[in-house]
């Protein structure tokens, strides 16, 4: 029989870093909402392979459709938006991020803060690690009368970046992306300004990696899947390269250092987790429609995610990559090429196996989402391979990103409980 863990229910006091992040996001969306009046330029682009520093150097504000989609899900709006898109002829089989975004657009384009999002001045399609991105922007292009910059980022099929791949991306940045941004903003490309942003990125990346690797401690002071969603927020979205991001990650690092000093476990929606029973590596994105309920299923079992691949979807930093101001465009190219979903399946298996070992995990779990073939196709193979290489048991659950029809709470809870029971029994001295 397992002992059900619960975090201590308290009036959860937000950490200073959380307050800071919330304020950063609010300011960003205020600027976006005011953009039609202030004349600030906006660009729609994606998280993986984002070129935030370059955009900052042009003072152009990013809007990230997949972030809007997940926010719509967390606000309980995505079902309605998906329904709008399906009524317009979008197939039930395809990515629900796309449908949520299209539905939101057709419903007035009201963003996560309840303010209307501005129309884009540029669509910047960074085609990195996800085929659907390309189709998504072909769909958006039909909705907006604005220039499109397309950056094709080759796939790391053989587990490495070749000079040809890097040159292809850099040349596209120079000849395709930068001229479109110059035209849209009326500004010239300013490489010195880009270098300044990249230097700040590297600083924040150092602190982010420190935070993510803090999960090597026992107990882990962070949850590197559910909690990490918040930690990676600024660096994956509109803030990489800003002084705000540097300050946020410095503050976050100090807070986590303090948690380690005090021997505390991670913060959960219900407060601190008191007892860490299972250390888990997680592959795949979370479900957003029932995010807290999903997280609580882990918390109730005393399960902590000590590493996750989702926290690498907007950049893999813990294998050593940092943005490099001395090679600005090459560095942006390497960043785009290195995002998690742009890695080959064997590389993903290597990374997961490494996480299981380095983070002393009891097992690993795959949350396979219906919407995302980039993540999901091949995950059953990943499951077998990582089990074989790490010697740790894998678990497999299925849900979706933002379509609540595909989150079956009872099923998922049942599977998770069985999985954690199995981990318990496999422990030395367990009831196997």
């Amino acid at each position: 029989m397992t002992t059900r863990q619960t975090a201590t229910p308290v009036d959860v006091q937000k950490d200073a870093s959380q307050v800071r992040q919330k304020a950063m996001i609010a300011r960003h969306f205020d600027r976006l909402a005011a953009a039609p009046d202030t004349g600030e330029k906006t660009v729609y682009t994606f998280v993986p392979g984002n070129l935030t520093e370059l955009l900052l150097s042009f003072d152009i504000l990013p809007v990230l459709p997949e972030i809007n989609a997940l926010q719509s899900a967390m606000r309980g709006k995505s079902a309605e938006y998906i329904s709008v898109a399906e009524k317009l002829g979008h197939s039930e089989d395809v990515c629900t991020y796309v449908k949520s975004d299209i539905g939101m657009l057709k419903s007035g384009n009201i963003g996560p803060t309840g303010q209307r999002l501005p129309n884009p001045d540029v669509l910047l399609l960074s085609y990195t690690g996800c085929f659907t991105f390309m189709k998504w922007f072909e769909l958006l292009r039909e909705e907006y009368d604005c220039p499109v910059a397309m950056l094709h980022v080759p796939y790391q099929a053989d587990g490495r970046v070749t000079e040809s791949m890097r040159r292809y991306v850099v040349d596209q940045l120079r000849q395709k992306v930068i001229p479109v941004l110059e035209q849209a903003t009326g500004r010239a490309y300013d490489e010195d300004r880009l270098r300044e942003c990249l230097a700040r990125s590297a600083e924040a990346e150092d602190d982010l990696v420190w935070v993510l690797q803090s999960a090597r401690h026992t107990p882990s002071p962070i949850d590197a899947y559910f909690g990490a969603v918040y930690y990676v927020g600024p660096i994956f979205s509109s803030f990489r390269g800003t002084p705000d991001a540097v300050a946020y990650y410095r503050e976050l690092r100090a807070e986590i250092a303090e948690r380690i000093r005090l021997g505390q476990g991670p913060v959960t929606p219900d407060g601190d987790l008191e007892t860490e029973r299972f250390r888990i590596v997680v592959e795949g994105p979370p479900n957003w429609t029932s995010f807290r309920q999903f997280w609580k299923m882990f918390v109730d079992e005393g399960a902590v995610a000590v590493a996750s691949t989702y926290a690498k979807v907007g950049g893999v930093y813990d294998t050593g990559f940092r943005h490099d101001p001395s090679h600005p465009l090459e560095s942006l190219a390497d960043y785009c090429l290195g995002c998690y979903t742009n890695l080959s399946l064997p590389s993903r298996i290597d990374l997961l196996t490494r996480y299981v070992k380095e983070y002393s995990a009891d097992g690993f779990l795959i949350n396979s989402v219906k919407s995302c073939n980039s993540f999901s196709a091949g995950q059953l193979h990943i499951l077998r391979e990582v089990e074989a290489r790490s010697g740790r048991p894998g678990g497999f659950i299925e849900s979706d990103l933002v379509d609540p029809r595909y989150f079956s709470a009872a099923n998922i809870k049942n599977r998770l409980e069985s999985y954690f029971q199995m981990l318990e029994q496999k422990r030395p001295g367990g009831a196997a």
Binding site: L88, G89, H90, S91, D93, V94, C95, V98, Y127, C130, F131, T132, M134, K135, W136, E138, L139, E142, M150, H152, P154, Y155, A157, D158, T162, S164, M165, R167, Y168, D171, Q172, Q175, K176, S344, L345, P346, R348, I349, S368, K370, N373, S374, S376, A377, G378, Q379, L380, H381, E385, E398
Partner: protein, 391 residues
């Protein structure tokens, strides 16, 4: 007047080649020549390059409704299309063990990830993901693609293929030009007289050609074209002329194609087995032949949901084909869970509606064996065209 018995014999041979999962023709060719055979997934690979190095390109398009999937399903969740399961199944059951390599063109994330699985499941094979460019400038995407092709040529040579030679490549380009020209003629004939070239029959011939050396596939196309051109036993029926789109990767079964025809549709254009038509006109044979392959891909490829539309309007190519082919309606026929086709479809529907084409849509899986619902839908669609369209 009776039909030429050579036609039935040719179709019978094509049917046998199409149904032969174990690729006997490839095994025979290897035994005869000692050359390498390299499989490739749908849509497009530069077969000329392989041929020039003495390698037999072998087109693979998954399974049919007669392939029992035992191992393949263990690799894929229910919400992923069918072609990777059958391809894995054929790999694991030994059907493809005559292949020395596999090429996975950039179709979608499923096929992309399958390339990684293949690397691990079949470590002795040359496995290459062919990351064709989505930038179509010669000095950007063209340069990258050229690097990719030259690397592929070196990889093949390292496995025992002949080193890439410019004259050999020019010769291969000329052979494939002729191959494609005959397929264009067959499509043109079907457009003019679809009763002479039933799609289920043409389809089998196109599939058979995937497993033959180009010299033999050209002969097959030429003979088929001659025989159907002169076959006066085939008479026109009062059928609706439709363009079928969406089946460029996973393929419907012959049964489904026959069902559509029996339901009253003449398929006058389609995107089945696109490799035979992906490059739309002759590739020049003079000058730098690798560059000619690159430029053909950049500037003369068919519009495809797998290919970014950099300029122009989405759906323009479909409309052009429908109008040139005299189609009276559009059938959207995509495989279930096919991201490229299904994400494209709303944009294409908009385009066909703007031009007033009637359309209908359904999905299939390569192993579908029941077509009653599709038959009724297609029959109603064909009837509506005949009864109420235009005239």
């Amino acid at each position: 007047m009776s039909a030429d018995p050579r036609l039935a014999a040719l179709v019978d041979r094509a049917d046998r080649l199409y149904r032969d999962y174990r690729l006997s023709s490839v095994r025979d060719w290897k035994a005869r020549t000692g050359g390498l055979a390299v499989g490739y997934m749908p849509i497009y690979v530069p077969r000329e390059l392989l041929h020039a190095q003495g390698v037999l390109p072998v087109g693979l398009m998954g399974g049919r409704d007669d392939l029992e999937i035992i191992k393949g399903d263990a690799y894929y969740q229910s919400y992923i299309c069918h072609i990777p399961r059958s391809t894995i199944e054929l790999g694991l059951n030994g059907s493809l063990d005559c292949l020395d390599g596999m090429l996975f063109p950039a179709i979608c994330d499923v096929i992309r990830n399958l390339s990684g699985m293949w690397q691990m499941l079949f470590p002795g094979m040359l496995v290459r993901y062919l990351d064709v460019p989505q930038n179509f400038d010669r000095d950007l995407g063209g340069r990258f693609y050229r690097d990719d092709l030259e690397q592929l040529a070196r990889d093949l040579a390292a496995r025992g293929a002949a080193p890439l030679d410019a004259d050999a490549l020019r010769h291969s380009i000329s052979l494939y030009n002729e191959d494609r020209r005959l397929v264009r003629e067959l499509y043109a004939l079907r457009g003019r007289a679809p009763w002479k070239v039933p799609t289920h029959e043409l389809y089998m011939v196109l599939r058979a050609a995937l497993v033959l050396p180009v010299e033999e596939s050209t002969a097959l196309f030429r003979t088929y074209l001659e025989l159907v051109t002169h076959d006066d036993t085939r008479k026109p029926l009062d059928q609706a002329r439709v363009l079928l789109t969406g089946s460029f990767c996973e393929q419907p079964s012959i049964g489904l194609i026959r069902t559509l025809e029996r339901a009253g549709c003449y398929i006058v254009d389609d995107d089945f087995v696109q490799i035979h038509r992906f490059i739309q006109s002759d590739i020049p044979v003079d000058g730098d032949p690798v560059e000619n392959l690159v430029v053909a891909f950049l500037t003369d490829a068919m519009a495809s949901p797998t290919r970014y539309v950099e300029t122009g309007v989405k759906g323009d190519d479909l409309i052009r084909r429908a109008e040139e082919g005299g189609a009276e309606g559009i059938l959207f026929c995509a495989a279930s869970f096919c991201d490229p086709a299904l994400l494209d479809q709303p944009m294409l529907v908009k385009a066909v509606e703007r031009r007033g084409f009637p359309w209908t849509a359904f999905k299939f899986s390569e192993n579908s064996g029941q077509f009653q619902v599709i038959r009724e839908q297609a029959g109603t669609f064909a009837d509506s065209i005949k009864l109420w369209s235009g005239a």
